[in-house]
Subunit: 192 residues, 2 copies
């Protein structure tokens, strides 16, 4: 198993050798080809993915057929449709590989069991969820208070490595503008 999963967890909590062995058995390595789906709207999201290489993105398609990116998940990120995963209801999100992607997969029953057996894991996920709340709050504030160009600048600052491997239209969709406007915006010369 890739070392990065434990690195991810150790950033927040301590795991004993025994707990690591236990946890390792819960996860199963999987992979996805580019443009293939980990989840489609309407399916139930049966587990949680930890990306070890490649990039996933989650998005919705609105009533007019337009996509809206909710999240990118490069290596070291977790990805799921949290609504569908926690409630075991049909997903509202699509999760798709933007690149060939490898990930570790844990099913919901296994995750629940792991929380019982490894309290430190529950703490890890509490902290991750709290951090996610903070990040989404920031994004909402940004969407409400900043023009597109500033949201783009904030995105560049926050995810400097992602800008280089994402096509523009994905970034446009994440910050909430059309590809056409995005193109105009970044080509409208802040000259030097």
């Amino acid at each position: 198993m890739e070392v990065t999963l434990f690195e991810n967890i150790r950033r927040q909590v301590f795991l004993t050798e025994d707990q690591q062995v236990l946890l390792e058995n819960y996860f199963q390595p999987k992979s996805l080809k580019k443009k293939h789906y980990l989840l489609q709207e309407g399916e139930v999201n049966l587990g949680l993915a930890f990306v070890t290489s490649g990039i996933l993105r989650s998005f919705t398609i609105d009533s007019n057929g337009f996509e809206h990116v909710l999240q990118f998940a490069p290596a070291d990120w977790w990805m799921a449709d949290m609504y569908s995963l926690t409630r075991q209801e049909p997903a509202r999100l699509f999760i798709e590989a933007l690149e060939p992607t490898e990930y570790l997969w844990i099913t919901k029953p296994q995750l629940d069991e792991a929380f019982e057996q490894i309290p430190a894991l529950e703490r890890h996920f509490r902290i991750l969820a709290e951090n996610a709340v903070i990040a989404y709050q920031n994004r909402i504030i940004g969407n409400l208070s900043q023009p597109a160009i500033e949201r783009y600048a904030a995105f560049c600052q926050q995810y400097p490595t992602l800008i280089q491997c994402l096509p523009q239209k994905q970034i446009a969709s994440f910050i909430g503008v059309t590809p056409e406007f995005f193109s105009k915006m970044i080509n409208t010369i802040p000259m030097h």
Copy 2:
């Protein structure tokens, strides 16, 4: 102590008598007059509030002096600047009482200690944080894909009791439009 705190927690996890007594001692009842602040931008958010009556709201003020509401917290809701609370850094949010408000207060060190002593509490907050993530994701998707009138309809559906006690300008700020546009929008006749 109000019974609603334990109701809130019991909705997710089981607490023994002993744990309830222990927990009860961590919380301290406090109150705020209308228009008074629980937290102002720049201060460090030293604890977490559980509202027992009244309404709190958290908001930012942007560089042009406009307010943007992040969250309302009526009775049975938790409220903090999560960024400031978890990192003990200066807050970016204001938290203000929209009505005379009573709440139970737990400081950050006490909360951390309570997590150590009561693992079920940690689970409760993991689940709360997950639910918050889901709610914020929905809000982001809505902001990206729906016009203001539909965001308002969604707000009415999700918080039917709040509509009746909030001034319009607060709702306008939450869904992300100016009070002027909000007024025009709801008075532009969907007649019957």
